[in-house]
Symmetry: none
Subunit: 194 residues, 4 copies
Amino acid sequence: MHRQGEILAAAFEVFAAHGYEAARIDDVARQAGIAKGTVYLYFRDKQRLFQAVVRNLIPKRFDVLVKSLPGRPAEVVTALLSQMYLNVVRNERVRSIVRLLVAESGRFPHLAEIYHQEIVVPGMRAMRQALARGMEDGEFRESDALQFPQIVVAPALLALVWQLLFADSHPLDLETYMKAHMEFVLGSLERVRA
Amino acid sequence: MHRQGEILAAAFEVFAAHGYEAARIDDVARQAGIAKGTVYLYFRDKQRLFQAVVRNLIPKRFDVLVKSLPGRPAEVVTALLSQMYLNVVRNERVRSIVRLLVAESGRFPHLAEIYHQEIVVPGMRAMRQALARGMEDGEFRESDALQFPQIVVAPALLALVWQLLFADSHPLDLETYMKAHMEFVLGSLERVRA
Amino acid sequence: MHRQGEILAAAFEVFAAHGYEAARIDDVARQAGIAKGTVYLYFRDKQRLFQAVVRNLIPKRFDVLVKSLPGRPAEVVTALLSQMYLNVVRNERVRSIVRLLVAESGRFPHLAEIYHQEIVVPGMRAMRQALARGMEDGEFRESDALQFPQIVVAPALLALVWQLLFADSHPLDLETYMKAHMEFVLGSLERVRA
Amino acid sequence: MHRQGEILAAAFEVFAAHGYEAARIDDVARQAGIAKGTVYLYFRDKQRLFQAVVRNLIPKRFDVLVKSLPGRPAEVVTALLSQMYLNVVRNERVRSIVRLLVAESGRFPHLAEIYHQEIVVPGMRAMRQALARGMEDGEFRESDALQFPQIVVAPALLALVWQLLFADSHPLDLETYMKAHMEFVLGSLERVRA
DNA sequence: CATGAATGAGTGTTCATTCAT
DNA sequence: GATGAATGAACACTCATTCAT
């Protein structure tokens, strides 16, 4: 289905640019270089097109990316966060997905659910494993971060949302921000500090 | 303008429930208990109504809330975060505003800008002051958190977004989460640790 | 609801001319001299408009027309048939209704049902009464026509259908036809014949 | 053209079920087990397909059926009516044709004309001959039924229309109805009666 | 000020028809 | 001949906006 892929790509751009309601099937078709009716050969209606678009953006083997990184726990945590900045915060597509999910999760509740299962849960599992290993090894002190690995990752999400809202007027120096984030996180996790 | 306030209140509910595009002026009028035409006596068009709604939701004296809290720096930081959970994360109205801002910041870029000025900047200033005082006092170690006070607050934003996306299927235990957040933050900031 | 009546009148013309599917709401609006959207202020959708049109065409007090005609049974029968030719066969509106009912009874089964109750049943009751009286009086011989008064009326329906199908190419001389119909019916009913 | 016949058969079912406008070429193709484009190899467009369908349903040698039935005039009349109930009223295909003709004769006036020539005229001729023979023989009294043989047949048409409109809610006992019809007709035609 | 009937441009969706394979 | 993907005109229906009352 080459056509289907083209339509999904075009639809993603239009939905990302305008949101679900304001997106025009006409624009999707034009963007894909096809006639409006053709869209309906591949997707029954606008809702299914939207859902297909969002589902299609889920990385197929996301868990692989975050699993079994080698190195000392601190390095693993750093590497996970690095990956997150590289693949999530800096990735405009991903930012658009987050925007769409936030905007439309009221209308399409199960889409958020899918992302929870496919992205959030594996991501949290990986981070939790790294933290647990650090504590077992004695490198990290005991803390509730194990229960809420989200807390460790939160600054990356904030950066993402910041870019969504303020990229134009108040862009974030992501490089420096990321380093500060890592330093802050390790500062809280690591047992010994100068 | 009592009437105007009623319209704004009604419009907020409708916009919050459906987003800008899907919101119906008809619903706003019905919600306000007036005729549809009356809305147009107070607002030139839907765009201005929306902007007025969002602007209207900015707390008038927000900076007061976050300024000059008494106590030791650690207590100030904790108090600031507490306030954030109380007034932001747990407040459904605020969650809706964030959702609207994320969803519509593409269409209304200056709205995000307003919130940056009125909310984000004062909030960051307060947090930065508390951190700076802690470092001056020697209670907090030196860190880049001063440059990016967002990092300290980030877990609260994550909690807010989490509630937006997963409140139904995977609600967060906010009380415990907040405590973990504070412990994590102080763990990173404070100089001495057992 | 003056407007509603105008729309119903316009809609009847359009539906009668083209049938349900081929009728265009645009044409209804144009025929009524209003904007398309206005139609939807009075009727939720095309289906309800159609049903309202058809229901609206049912004579309010049809049963009155056919009840208690004075005179000898043969005269009553003749009068009933006369009325049928005047009000049904010769009436273009009624012909259109019959066409619509035949055409769309598959799509709107309850419309036929309504006409059965409101028109067919009262009409048959009147004719049956006249026949019964004739038999009681000894003017009419006993026959199964009592069980099926439709048979007595059938030639009028045939004339109606004939006009629908062949009015242009092979119009019926209704005056003569009606007389032949009456003579034929009385010829079968009346006991004594020269 | 075996293929053409299959398409015509499929198209008849679809047109009969939904009427001209609501019929979908897609459904015709699916019903015929072929691709949609194939329909257009055999018929230039939907209109011609419809016309071909309706024309195709005219019995090739209908006049043969109704001509030169042996027996006494009363028997011939009865036989003609019997045939009509058997082949017309009870035949669902024929009922569908009548419905289509009534519904679409506005759009396709010449189709009614064809049926007039091929079916109505021969049918009326046969009935008229039977009546004329009965009068010549002295079995039937003189009447205008000769001029309007439709009158004799009308109850059968009424039964057909009745089935179209009320088959589900108020079905007709066709057997009894037909006998009443015949009795009524002969009662009017025959010279001598008890 | 307030109303709500009226408007008509705009949108999602359908479907007869075409045509490259 | 046969296919079925592609087209795009057309239609039902919506809704922001206007305005006479």
